[in-house]
């Protein structure tokens, strides 16, 4: 068995994919990090202090983890959901009663979304209370604030999609607040968001596009910058 593994790891196919052997020596462990696309956001070595769980509480990582879970469950939900006021609600009912594990899928997406708002907020508090916004990390804090706003907007645009009473009135309350922006600007923003004066078909399609495409893509770009900056600013 051991010899089989060794042969596999030495084979040209393995080497073409991973470029390094099993992480048994420190050298191979370092290579495992910097030859790997996903791991290369990390340095090959980290301070023992910064990976202590009670320093970061893993909150930034959990925010990213929740984003991944939301992307996967969201893509699956998109298979069964049509953003039209005649179909959206009944698609939710189908998810509940017809699609196998549909309810579970919806629950995962819903609870992960709520959790993400809370966890990102807590991550911000951790960064504040450990004073980690101090130079040279100022700008990464600013990017963080953008990510917080995006997280809330993601959750909020998703809130309309089930097209039930909760969504409809939740969004109505929110867009009415936007109308309070003075000099007619509020009305214009709200008109732009809703594609009309009331929460209707156009609003549903707009929120759908924002929720499933525009904001997630923007958030991914900002997360990329955020992680890159964590490293460039000298790590945690």
């Amino acid at each position: 068995m051991n010899r089989l593994t060794e042969q596999l790891v030495r084979s040209r196919v393995w080497r073409s994919i991973f470029r390094h052997g099993l992480p048994l020596s420190n050298r191979a462990r370092a290579e495992a990090v910097f030859y790997n696309f996903f791991l290369h956001v990390h340095p090959t070595k980290v301070r023992r202090r910064s990976i202590k769980f009670t320093y970061t509480w893993g909150l930034g990582g959990l925010s990213a983890g929740l984003f991944i879970i939301l992307t996967v469950t969201g893509a699956l939900l998109m298979l069964y959901y049509r953003p039209s006021i005649h179909q959206a609600y009944w698609d939710m009912k189908d998810l509940q009663f017809v699609v196998s594990s549909g309810q579970f899928l919806r629950n995962m997406h819903r609870w992960a979304a709520h959790a993400m708002v809370a966890i990102v907020f807590l991550h911000m508090l951790r960064v504040f209370y450990t004073g980690s916004y101090r130079p040279p990390k100022e700008f990464n804090w600013v990017i963080g604030v953008v990510l917080l706003v995006m997280t809330i907007l993601l959750s909020y645009t998703g809130y309309l999609l089930p097209w039930d009473q909760l969504s409809f009135w939740g969004i109505s309350v929110g867009t009415n607040m936007v109308r309070a922006v003075p000099f007619g600007t509020g009305d214009r923003i709200s008109y732009l968001l809703l594609g009309g004066n009331i929460v209707g078909e156009n609003a549903l399609v707009r929120f759908y596009v924002l929720h499933c495409f525009v904001i997630p893509v923007a958030a991914m770009v900002f997360m990329g910058i955020h992680f890159w900056r964590v490293r460039k600013d000298g790590g945690v």
Partner: protein, 234 residues
């Protein structure tokens, strides 16, 4: 004549060894260690294993919650039928609670914009970079400034009868003043004494956000009147 060497260079060809930084130290300048070398560990496996475990626990916890609790789905949207109260999602209920006291332009536009701007500028203000306890310098002056600002904020809150903000504000101010009154240096009081101004402001902000959100979620019923959460349970 032979030139006296100032330094030694060591080199190593062992690839498995941690590379060391080399410093050239001229004998004229004296070398001082300002920071001890920190304890470093390999990312693989130390960090990566932790990340994987954390992600697995996250998935498991979410899966358990999703098996136990169903996401809400009410009746189909009906623009003719306004629920009473119509509530925004929980993270906006703090704002909606404020909407109950202040005109929409204040609660819906000015407050949220102020909060976002305040968050963005945190790292650029030296108040936030100071790590000195609030009462470390010029105690009398600090007390006057504190009492005046708290006076203004409390009067405003009182005028608009925002007791949900007034009570937590006064409680935090009470804690702020404890180290002024008592000069104990150990225990809780000693700890309070070392808190800088930025700490107090953030803690005040977070407390207000949490109180407003809890009130909005649990204690508001029809017409946004005060309702106990167990009111509907008979």
């Amino acid at each position: 004549m032979e030139i006296k060497k100032d330094f030694n260079v060591e080199s190593s060809s062992d690839a498995k060894k941690v590379p060391k930084r080399i410093a050239f130290i001229k004998s004229r300048t004296s070398a001082r260690v300002r920071q001890e070398e920190e304890d470093m560990v390999m990312t693989v496996p130390n960090l990566v294993v932790r990340e994987i475990i954390a992600f697995e626990i996250l998935v498991i916890v979410l899966a358990i919650i999703s098996l136990l609790f169903n996401a809400p789905l009410e009746w189909i949207a009906n623009p003719e039928h306004t629920p009473n109260p119509a509530k925004a999602p929980w993270y906006f209920l703090g704002l909606q609670e404020l909407l109950h006291y202040f005109p929409p332009i204040v609660a819906g536009v000015i407050f949220p914009s102020l909060v976002i701007v305040a968050l963005i500028v945190i790292p650029y203000f030296s108040v936030n970079l100071k790590q000195e306890g609030l009462w470390k310098q010029s105690r009398q002056q600090t007390l006057v400034v504190l009492l005046v600002s708290v006076g203004i904020v409390s009067t405003t809150l009182l005028l608009f009868s925002v007791y949900v903000m007034l009570v937590p504000t006064l409680m935090i101010v009470g804690l702020m003043i404890v180290p002024y009154v008592s000069s104990r240096e150990s225990g809780f009081v000693g700890w309070l004494a070392t808190r800088p101004l930025s700490w107090w402001i953030m803690t005040w902000f977070v407390t207000i956000v949490i109180v407003l959100t809890i009130v909005g979620v649990l204690f508001r019923g029809p017409e946004w009147t005060w309702t106990w959460p167990w009111h509907e349970i008979y």
